[in-house]
């Protein structure tokens, strides 16, 4: 049976070439980069520094500006908490967009508890932050502004260039979470005045367990891990050498192939998007054009997200939903079911939508796989609507009122 993995926004398959680059660092070159007096440690140190250069090259940074972490969550935590602490005692205000990832939003909880003030920037119905709102929100005591590069759920690309210039003028540290976009669309810190940029290896065909935070030379960031002096003092703990090497190889691959991937993904994405238009009462989410290539997101009236995903999976199509019902099924209790706030932020009515669907395509996807999804969708939607009391009421209303 054809299988279609359309959930690249959650993770991407490791590129086989990247795996080959990592392989020696498991069994042969197992040294600790901090213990580099001997040959094995020296080899590991050289490998980590080479990877640092490769990741830096992906975003136009200098080698010394890349700090390796365990992934995007740690990078976002370090960016938010580290920059706020680095800004000093007089700066008690943080500005974020309404569609940031949980690893930014939840890092604000201890800050609020400590008396920091947080301004949340609204987004328009396409999920876009208005740079004018940023200008109005920044104050003399603002420690940090955080706006993501692209949103994973709805695919929208934020105007980080204009926003960054406003932050720079105001002298506010600017963090960009580029987890969803890095390696897929260009981001160059020589053009976009970001001070901090979050990167995640497994979102661009690298391994899980490796991320990075770009820290612009001179930016004031305090470490949030307490231990040794690894990663220029920003992140204590022995580096995950094989994963870091993989991140470097993946960055080089993405830097070289990004344009070709984007062309392929845009074509497939357009076929998918156009094909879905045949389904009545289907609403696309996110910006119609300013969005990640190969990212198609939508919601369907009278169809609950998790049910749709379960049926799609039965047909071999693996996708994701931001619905409350499909989140965190391994949680301890219902408190752990948290609906994605992104749909609320873009004004999708909650009484007729409990789940957006995200099809996120990757470099390995084919036109046949897109066809598989398009063939499966109408029947599933029909089947779920036939079961839905809200759809029954809608039909009766239509019959009555015409």
């Amino acid at each position: 049976m054809t299988k279609a993995f359309f959930d690249h926004i959650s993770t991407t398959p490791l590129d086989p070439g990247v795996f080959e680059a990592m392989r020696p660092y498991f069994l042969e070159s197992y040294g600790n980069p901090s213990s580099h007096i001997h040959d094995l440690g020296q080899a590991a140190l050289r490998a980590v520094d080479r990877a640092r250069g490769e990741v830096a090259a992906l975003i136009g940074a200098k080698e010394g500006e890349i700090v390796f972490t365990s992934g995007a969550t740690e990078s976002n935590n370090l960016a938010v908490l580290g920059a706020v602490e680095g800004a000093g005692a007089g700066k008690r205000h943080v500005v974020v967009s309404d569609v940031e990832h949980f690893s930014v939003m939840n890092a604000l909880i201890p800050l609020r508890n400590a008396g920091y003030e947080v301004t949340v920037l609204p987004v328009d119905r396409n999920g876009v932050v208005d740079p004018d709102d940023v200008r109005k929100a920044l104050r003399d005591d603002t420690a940090l502004l955080s706006v993501m590069h692209a949103n994973s759920e709805i695919g929208t690309i934020e105007p980080v260039g204009p926003i960054g210039r406003i932050a720079k003028e105001a002298g506010v540290t600017f963090h960009v979470d580029a987890t969803a976009s890095a390696g897929h669309i260009p981001l160059d810190v020589r053009e976009i005045p970001a001070d901090l940029v979050t990167l995640s290896a497994h979102n661009f065909y690298g391994p899980k367990g490796a991320g990075a935070l770009y820290i612009r030379e001179g930016a004031k960031v305090a470490s949030r891990t307490f231990g040794g002096f690894q990663e220029m003092g920003y992140r204590a703990g022995t580096e995950n050498v094989p994963a870091v090497v993989g991140m470097g190889a993946a960055a080089t691959l993405a830097g070289r192939e990004m344009g070709a991937w984007a062309g392929h993904l845009s074509r497939l994405g357009k076929t998918l998007r156009d094909g879905l238009a045949a389904i009545p009462m289907l609403h696309y989410t996110g910006h119609p054009s300013g969005r990640l290539p190969g990212h198609v997101s939508f919601w369907v009236e009278h169809v609950e997200g998790e049910s749709l995903l379960l049926f799609l999976n039965m047909k071999g199509v693996m996708a994701a939903s931001g619905s409350a019902c499909s989140s965190n099924l391994r949680g301890h209790d219902e408190e752990d079911l948290v609906a994605s706030p992104v749909l609320r932020a873009i004004g999708v009515p909650s009484d007729i939508c409990t789940g957006s669907i995200t099809f996120s395509l990757g470099k390995g996807n084919t036109a046949d796989e897109v066809r598989l999804a398009l063939d499966a969708m109408p029947g599933i939607v029909e089947r779920l609507r036939a079961m839905s009391p809200t759809y029954l009421d809608y039909q009766k209303q239509q019959a009555k009122g015409g």
Partner: protein, 127 residues
Amino acid sequence: MAAGPYSEKVMDHFMNPRNVGEIESADGVGEVGNPACGDMMRLYLKIDEGKVVDAKFRTFGCGAAIASSSMLTEMIKGKTVDEARAITNQHVADALDGLPAVKIHCSVMAEQAVKSALDDYVKKHAG
């Protein structure tokens, strides 16, 4: 056939739900939940001589919600009104070989639906 977070029973009832539909001139109709919260269930009962002789449902919701609805209708058919009222969410969850902890509310919805439908039946037949 067990897929993802659910038991085989849940998946069976989700993929092949029993008793989906509507009963014209039902003796009791119960509606619980709210689509804004992710689930909504409407239950129709046909009651004859104090027994549930038919039950049908429509549910908007996740896999666990649809499976709980389906299982509930199977469980109450043939039961007396009192027996049907005694069914708890735990009975429904057990009959499905368990639900994930975060999905217990789906079985609660099924329990509430049958109570709501029986209340409606009592109200309709009180006079």
